[in-house]
């Protein structure tokens, strides 16, 4: 198991293939994925729906094991979930029986820590300061997703795995949260691995963008972005990469 105190983690995904069995036939989901994520990188994965992105993230998190290939963190095989690698799942999956604050506190409770101020600050940051005692059923989808984000971030992970974390937010909140994510990542120095279906979001956040093809997922494109933050969405460089990605994903340039 990886020591939780190791702040920097290098993730090595080597030749990973995976398939699910579905009604007696095999459904290949991942095919020969090779990807190394250096500490302090922020890698964003783009790919069509159902190609296997979430599956890959679950493996990095240690919730599932690949059929073939290996996934290592700092050279050690990932065999189980570990609190040093926190996941924000595609669905908020807040515990409905806990209040917003208790949900955000979940990691602390498991680790038997106590830090009220950290929780309050985090609630402040996601703009839900007044909602401490609200239950998830009282939140909108966007609010719930922000709480899920807070629940992960408050644990100060060394690897943060984000599965479409901003998908349910309206554009304004989304822009705010994107900014916050970048700031957090730059301050806290975690390794970021994120899936999104918003190309613009990828362009604004990533140090590297990985493009996957339809199932079985395989890496068909990689873009290194070394522009500074904050980036401007209308900058010619970004627009150019955007066109390329659209092309890779099979869309003609008319839209």
């Amino acid at each position: 198991m990886v020591d939780s105190l190791v702040k920097q983690q290098k993730i090595e995904i080597t030749n990973v293939s995976h398939s699910y069995s579905l009604d007696d036939h095999d459904l290949p989901v991942l095919e020969e994925i090779d990807l190394t994520i250096e500490p302090n990188e922020f890698v964003v994965i783009l790919g069509p729906s159902g190609c296997g992105k979430s599956t890959l993230l679950r493996m990095v998190a240690g919730l599932e094991r690949p059929e073939q290939g290996s996934i290592k963190a700092n050279g050690e095989e990932i065999i189980a979930a570990d609190p040093s690698r926190i996941v924000v799942f595609q669905d908020p999956t807040l515990f409905p029986w806990l209040t917003v604050r208790q949900n955000v506190e979940l990691g602390f409770k498991i680790q038997k820590k106590k830090d009220d101020k950290a929780i309050s600050d985090m609630l402040e940051m996601i703009g839900l300061a007044g909602f401490d005692n609200a239950y998830p059923s009282q939140l909108s989808g966007g609010m719930a997703q922000r709480v899920a984000l807070a629940r992960a971030l408050v644990n100060d992970p060394s690897v943060l795995i984000l599965d479409e974390p901003l998908g349910k937010l309206d554009s304004l909140t989304r822009i705010t949260m994107q900014k916050e994510l970048v700031n957090l990542w730059r301050n806290k120095q975690f390794t970021g691995l994120m899936v999104t279906h918003d190309i613009e979001e990828a362009l604004l956040l990533a140090t590297r963008i990985i493009v996957m093809r339809q199932r079985p997922a395989h890496i068909i494109g990689e873009f290194k972005l070394d522009m500074d933050y904050p980036r401007h969405r209308d900058s010619e460089e970004l627009l150019k990469i955007r066109r390329e990605i659209f092309g890779l994903l099979g869309h003609k340039s008319d839209w």
Partner: protein
């Protein structure tokens, strides 16, 4: 309707008048037979009339105005039909004052019976809920436990617990304990089935969330599986309470000295129907109160849950 009834004064006013009328006809029309406590009963009706008149300003009471009226009509008609005209076959149907008479003459015994029944009920019910819960958690969590418990549960669970009475009594030395166990058995089956269902149905993503934060199995059971299953557990407890009410009469055959079921059996053996219905009335109040209490507890514990069983 709620709106209409809440705002209207007339049903309660008419209701008070109707109670007054019931009091009047009880007092002034002569009885067809020798019924006890007729005057007392008239006074009680008068009292209700006055009470409903003075509670007119209370919104909550006014909402039940139509009920006050309906009850007055019901009691009034009953009084006339039975006490004054003797139209219904006796002894199955008594007059209202006969019921009142039982309460006045036998209240000590009834109260004692109520206390005993409540003790039996609460003890057996809580014990059964705990047993059922533990079995349910075991089945939901451990495949091995489920392998052995599942067929037993399916086979023995739906059986009327009465059937176990002889065996239970043969094995358990104390008849009070045997009674409690009978109740516990009745309660444990639905709680076990629903706890099990609840735990088996927990969204596996909840476990994933906790696991990535370092949760160990004990944490997963205590802080994920059980709270997530609670709404189901509650449905089981609701069913269990109903079963326990059913069992009360049976469990009180076991060497008890007092109890509502015991009292009812005795009254029935003597065809003393007014006594029986008096005990029944108390039982109804007890049952509905326990149900209400259970739902109060639920609403506190599961306030995060939006839709559920209504009461």
């Amino acid at each position: 309707m709620k709106q209409i009834v809440k705002n209207a004064y007339w049903p309660q006013i008419v209701g008070a008048v109707a109670w007054l009328a019931t009091a009047g006809l009880t007092y002034f029309i002569p009885n067809a037979d020798d019924f006890p406590r007729t005057t007392t009963f008239a006074v009680v009706c008068l009292g209700i009339a006055i009470l409903s008149a003075i509670s007119l300003p209370l919104n909550k009471v006014r909402y039940y105005g139509a009920w006050i009226l309906a009850l007055a009509l019901f009691i009034g008609i009953w009084e006339v039909v039975q006490a004054k005209l003797l139209l219904l076959p006796r002894p199955f149907f008594g007059a209202p004052q006969e019921l009142l008479d039982v309460f006045i003459t036998d209240w000590a015994k009834l109260l004692n019976s109520l206390a005993h029944s409540m003790m039996l009920l609460v003890g057996g019910y809580l014990l059964g809920c705990i047993i059922g819960f533990v079995i349910g958690v075991g089945m939901g969590w451990s495949k091995l436990f489920g392998y052995w418990a599942h067929p037993v549960l399916r086979f023995l669970g739906p059986l009327p617990p009465v059937a176990f009475l002889p065996l239970l009594f043969a094995v358990i030395p104390s008849s009070f304990v045997a009674g409690e166990l009978l109740m516990a058995f009745a309660a444990s089956f639905p709680v076990a089935v629903l706890t099990w269902s609840g735990i088996a149905g927990v969204n596996p993503s909840y476990y994933d969330v906790a696991k990535t934060m370092g949760a160990k199995p004990l944490f997963l059971i205590r802080h994920v599986a059980i709270p997530a299953a609670l709404p189901f557990v509650f449905v089981g407890m609701f069913m269990a309470l109903g079963s326990c009410f059913y069992m009360l009469v049976v469990a009180e055959m076991l060497g008890v000295k007092a109890g509502l079921g015991f009292y009812m059996q005795w009254a029935q053996g003597w065809a003393a129907y007014p006594n029986m219905y008096a005990a029944l009335l108390i039982m109804a109040v007890m049952c509905t109160s326990f149900m209400t209490l259970l739902f109060k507890v639920r609403n506190r514990l599961l306030r995060w849950q939006k839709e559920s069983i209504k009461w």
